[in-house]
Amino acid sequence: MAMEPFLTHSGRTAVLDQPNMDTDRIIPARFLSRVDRTGYGEQLFADVRGPDFPLDRPEAKGASVLVVGENFGCGSSREHAVWAIQQAGFRAVIAQKTERVTGFSDIFRQNATINGLLLVELPPGEHRKLADAGSGAEVSIDLPAQTVLLNGEVMRFDINAATKKALMEGLDLIGSTLQHEEKIAAYERQRGPWIPPRRK
């Protein structure tokens, strides 16, 4: 399935500045019993919502850029977490990255990229400016230039080159991989694994 290409995006932020936000909190397990790929937006952060929850405050209404803490999306591999974030209207997530701690967990990062959700990692100083600006701040993200614009200030971010390309082109990754069909077939002939017996 091809995803929507990501080039630039301007929108308002919702700030949820907590570290180690696990995917169980992003979408609790009891909402994973459906066989569909849509309809998860309503269930985003279902168990922690309420009048005081940052995403439920009036200033966060209509936000399309989610600003979070570090190691966001840790825990369960459920891709429903990415679907819920996108289906609640978000196009990008901005996390804090330090020398020691990553902005996003590994599996969440894979899931986001493959669905066209842009993940941006900023160092603590710049991340702090976004968090302090609070929900509702206007930001512009330019993926080709690798910049986030906030209040006239340009913040640069790093991104893996292959990830950037996949996001910008909205690649169908299965289709891209199948272009390697001959190499996969050659691997299977020459170096494929021992095949277990079929079930009796």
Partner: protein, 465 residues
């Protein structure tokens, strides 16, 4: 050039380089379950693609199945999800161990048990605890649903970059009553919940070498809890003895097994190979561990107290858990005990717990469950009489599944109730809305069930001996 275990397995599986330093990796075993696969099969159908290697793909139901043996009505959400996997497995010719089937169980319990998990393989599943299989020297990791579809269609996975390597070397000896669960909790406490991100961990050292496979699986299982995508342990004679056991129908046999064993003996990290990062830890003096907070690194010795919060996240965790700094962990009353999950539901875990429970009673007001990791573990336990030990003490004895680890199937910790759990994640709401989870070993869970509060198992064990 000397290479690590991870590098050897990685190198063997590179199908092609991808632009910008990425790689296309061949997948040897794809394990599928009901919750993260339906959308992947729908994607295949929509694009008119087939499952490339049904002979390397294996399915079971574990996450949402009831563990009380009741029928699942087809018109419920869970019933539809189970039925979808049945249809998909039939349509794409994938073997499926269905609900209450003799070989059904938690996917990470049945893979090793059936001989699907072997040293040197690449193994994926739409579940973060796929790292469990790394205990055999396999490169095993969790993937999301779109990647499940990618593996179904291509039998490969794309990596944007090669993971880094982290050497966790464990010396010393685990003391009486201190288990692999306590060791991995102590390692996570040390490394932190994000410290392993971007890394494949290899657990090495004397303390690891002495562990049986069940304990090694507990260790590798929780690699996910420090953010690592995979954890591995080099294969040795302990590994080979497990794989060569008679009751592994999907493992190689005879001369084929012998050839493969020779290769496995050379798979371990070479002398002089270097890692990107390194942590050393000793098992000497380690106490039983218990988590106090809402992530697995918020853990202390069972003999100590709730620590002072160091940051807003820890303050939030203490509010959620309804605990105060300075309260001794063992004074914490519990309502629920869960012995199960892909971390601690193997026969060895149940034997340990039963040894401590034998002849004693679950405390009044405590709901205690034992949920074997597979139907085969359940049968084995029943042959050994463990079910009777548990039931006589007042435990519930269940069929296999993920159950109360994530509370998808109706096995829930009730709101604001406190659970001593052998599972792997004490997250907010993980075991049910507003549930409060303390991660412990099977021994500590059993001891806590008997007293009604978090309890060091060692004094009770000495009385049992």
């Amino acid at each position: 050039m000397p290479r690590t275990l991870f590098e050897k397995v990685w190198d063997q599986h590179v199908v092609a380089g991808l632009p910008d330093g990425g790689a296309l990796i061949f997948i040897d075993r794809h394990l599928v379950h009901e919750v993260t696969s339906p959308q992947a099969f729908d994607g295949l159908r929509a694009a008119d693609r087939r499952v490339r290697r049904p002979d390397l793909t294996f399915a079971t139901v574990d996450h949402n199945v009831p563990t009380d043996g009741r029928a699942v009505p087809e018109d419920t959400l869970s019933g539809k999800q189970i039925a979808a996997l049945q249809r998909n497995a039939a349509e794409f010719d994938i073997p499926l161990w269905g609900y209450l089937d003799d070989n059904q169980g938690i996917v990470h319990i049945i893979g090793p048990q059936l001989g699907l998990t072997l040293p040197g393989l690449t193994i994926v599943c739409g579940d973060s605890h796929t790292s469990t299989h790394g205990a055999f020297g396999a490169l095993a990791f969790g993937i999301g649903t779109t990647e499940v579809e990618h593996v179904l269609a291509t039998q490969t996975l794309r990596f944007a970059a090669k993971p880094k390597t982290l050497d966790v070397e464990v010396s010393g000896n685990l003391a009486f009553g201190v288990t692999a669960k306590d060791l991995i909790l102590a390692i996570i406490r040390r490394i932190g919940v994000a410290g392993g991100a971007g890394f494949v961990v290899e657990y090495r050292g004397d303390a690891i070498r002495r562990l049986p496979m069940s304990a090694r699986m507990t260790i590798c299982n929780m690699s996910a809890e420090m953010g690592a995508r995979a954890g591995m342990i080099g294969p040795d004679e302990t590994t080979i003895e497990y794989v060569a056991a008679a009751d592994r129908p999907f493992a190689p046999k005879g001369t084929k097994l012998k050839q493969m064993c020779d290769a496995w003996r050379n798979l371990g990290t070479d002398e002089g190979a270097t890692f990107d990062s390194r942590v050393q830890i000793t098992a000497d003096g380690l106490q039983p561990q218990v988590s106090w907070g809402t992530n697995p690194a918020m853990t202390v010795d069972i003999t100590s107290a709730v620590p002072d919060p160091k940051n807003p996240a820890e303050e939030r965790a203490q509010r959620y858990m309804n605990i105060k700094p300075g309260t001794p962990m063992q004074e914490m009353d519990i309502n629920t005990v869960f012995i199960g999950s892909c971390t601690n539901s193997r026969i060895e875990d149940l034997r340990e717990a039963a040894m401590l429970v034998n002849g004693r009673r679950v405390a009044d007001g405590v709901r205690a469950l034992v949920v074997p990791g597979s139907e085969a573990v359940r049968r084995q336990a029943e042959q050994e009489g463990l079910d009777r030990v548990f039931k006589k003490a007042g435990f519930e004895w269940h069929h296999s599944g993920c159950s109360m680890c994530l509370g998808m199937n109706g096995d829930l910790v009730r709101p604001r109730q406190r659970c001593a759990s052998t599972s792997n994640r004490p997250y907010e709401g993980r075991q049910g809305p507003l549930s409060r989870t303390h991660l412990v070993s099977p021994l500590t869970a059993a001891a806590s069930a008997l007293t009604g509060h978090i309890t060091d198992p060692r004094p009770l064990l000495e009385d049992s001996a």
